[in-house]
């Protein structure tokens, strides 16, 4: 049976070169902080990886801290900025208890914000328009003298919309606040230059761009200090304790190197393939809605609502045909509320329940897309035949 993986926003396959680099480094077991040559060997490889990662985002190596992934990086920034010991926070965030973010952030931002709200922090969750865009004008209006941080994601994981973070960062700075972006979905997929974009903090994750799971990073502007999330030894310039994850770091560094290499050619090819899938679906299936911004969108993401049918059903039928996707339908999130992102862009519950996210990666091929375009219409029409909503609509 053909196997087609179109869930790259959830995670990505480890690039063969990354796997090889990790396997080859199995013997580099030294603790990178040890003074002897076993340690120095590990230290050398760790710093090499750091340099590659920093280059990928236009940062200095000293501005990159390794973490266990995107969720940790997001927790690190939010909690580090709002530590109850004022002297732990960066200068400039000493006073003030207001944070501005958006309604479509990843749960590791949303739920951490809920947590800091318990500590008497005020958080504004800005609405988005029907394409999922944050309006910089709304950010401007939300700013107060008490605002210490604005956090808006670079690219949304569900609908792919790319936010105007450079503009928003300028607004944050104008009002004396810091700017953080969750760039987990964009690092390695769109060009990023943290200096040019005016970022103070940026979160990233290895397994979203063909690196291993369990490793990520936080970029912090050179002079900015944060209260650590993980206290302990002096690793990562005393910002994040714990013996360095040699294998993960080496894998992440390799993934960064590969991403830089491929950015000019692979990304346009990916976009073209995604656009082909989108056009193919629009041609073959009626009563659909494409969710997300038409142009400012991650190159591999396509989120579609199929009227009259439900997402988990679509997902499982595609799965039995070997095609892996994900859905914003409640039934599959385990709660009865559909995806908060789809509701935030104003989708009705019914359309939110009928949504499927196709997220392509550089390893997908034309043949695979052809196969999906062959299977998907059959799945949708079979489910529509079973749907009382479809027969009701036909009857009208």
């Amino acid at each position: 049976m053909k196997e087609v993986y179109l869930d790259n926003s959830a995670t990505t396959p480890i690039h063969p070169e990354v796997a090889q680099a990790m396997v080859d480094s199995m013997s580099i077991f030294g603790n990178a902080s040890s003074v002897h040559h076993f340690g120095r060997k590990a230290r050398e490889r760790v710093e090499e990886a750091r340099a590659n990662l920093a280059k990928l985002i236009g940062a200095e190596p000293s501005e990159v801290v390794f973490t266990s992934g995107g969720s940790e990086s997001n927790n690190f920034v939010l909690k580090g900025m709002t530590c109850s010991h004022i002297s732990c926070r960066p200068r400039g965030a000493l006073m003030g208890n207001h944070v501005v973010t958006s309604q479509i952030e990843h749960p590791s931002i949303m739920n951490t914000c809920s947590c800091i709200e318990q500590d008497n922090y005020l958080v504004n969750y800005l609405p988005v328009d029907e394409c999922g865009m944050v309006d910089p004008e709304m950010v401007e209006r939300a700013m107060t003298p008490n605002t210490i941080l604005v956090s808006v994601m670079h690219g949304n994981n569900e609908i792919g919309t790319i936010e105007p973070i450079k503009e928003i960062a300028e607004i944050a700075h104008k009002h004396g606040a810091f700017f953080h972006t969750d760039a987990v979905q964009t690092v390695g997929k769109v060009p990023i230059d943290v200096k040019e974009m005016g970022m103070d903090f940026l979160s990233l994750s290895g397994h979203k761009f063909n690196g291993p799971k369990g490793i990520g990073g936080l970029y912090h502007r050179e002079d900015l200090h944060l209260c650590p999330l993980v206290h302990g030894g002096h690793q990562e310039a005393s910002l994040r304790a714990g013996t360095e994850n040699n294998l993960g770091i080496i894998g992440l560094g390799k993934a960064a190197e590969i991403a830089m290499r491929g950015m000019a050619t692979e990304i346009p090819a990916l976009r073209k393939l995604r656009d082909r899938l989108q056009a193919g679906i629009e041609e073959r299936i009626s009563d659909i809605k494409i969710n997300g911004h038409p142009t400012e969108r991650l190159p591999g993401v396509l989120n579609v609502s199929f009227k009259y049918v439900e997402g988990e059903s679509i997902l499982l039928r595609l799965d039995s045909a070997g095609i892996a996707v994900s859905t914003g339908s409640a039934c599959s999130t385990g709660s009865l509320e559909p995806s908060h992102v789809l509701l935030a862009i104003g989708l009705s519950h019914e359309l939110a329940h009928g949504s499927i996210r196709f997220s392509l990666g550089p390893q997908n091929t034309d043949d695979e897309i052809d196969y999906v375009l062959e299977q998907l219409p059959k799945v949708i029409s079979s489910l529509r035949e079973m749907s009382p909503l479809y027969s009701a609509a036909l009857g009208e």
Binding site: E310, L316, S335, S387
Partner: protein, 183 residues
């Protein structure tokens, strides 16, 4: 996550379709909660359900529950069919995950609604939703109690109520009240 039976009924649902000369039709659910089920039944002069079909908008559990329900009621007298509990539907499917139990409740509601329609019974008041997170109605809870659930745990086990996001914070007291009425 799903048993083989659920997958089977989902991939190859039985009795999909409408009955143009149905004796009774029942529709339950709403797009807001992501599940809508419609059931058609044909009943002969002896009160036996000779045919039953369904159409469902919903997840695999919803499709499987309605498919299984139509299988279970065929050939039965309407009084017997009424007695089928959601738990029996779920058991016939070799079990449903806890957060999907409400799909089996919806299926049993649909078949009851179809039988009501056949008998000319009009539901007296809007079925009050007690557990908002899972969409379980007062009637479903009362039915579970009549079929032997005597504690909150029993009701939870039978209907899936209190397994939603708020884990019963909003509805636990209300359900306890209903239980008390039956004691």
């Amino acid at each position: 996550m799903y048993s083989k039976k659920v997958i089977d009924h989902f991939e190859h649902p039985r009795n999909v379709g409408e009955l143009p000369d149905a004796s009774g039709v029942g529709e339950v659910g709403s797009p807001a909660c992501g599940d809508i089920m419609k059931m058609w039944i044909k009943v002969d002069d002896n009160g036996i359900i000779t045919e039953a079909t369904f159409k469902t908008f919903g997840c695999a559990s919803a499709v499987a529950s309605s498919s299984m329900a139509t299988e279970m009621i065929r050939g039965k007298h309407i009084d017997e069919a009424r007695k089928i509990t959601n738990k029996e539907i779920a058991d016939a499917l070799d079990g449903l995950p806890a957060h999907k139990l409400h799909c089996s409740v919806l299926a049993s509601d649909a078949l009851n609604r179809a039988i009501d329609d056949y008998l000319g019974v009009v539901p007296e008041e809007e079925d009050e939703v007690v557990c908002e997170c899972t969409g379980i109605s007062r009637k479903a809870i009362e039915r579970a109690i009549r079929h032997g659930a005597s504690t909150l745990e029993g009701i939870q086990e039978a209907t899936g109520a209190m397994t939603g996001e708020c884990e019963g914070i909003r509805c636990r007291d209300k359900i306890a009240e209903i239980l008390a009425q039956y004691k």
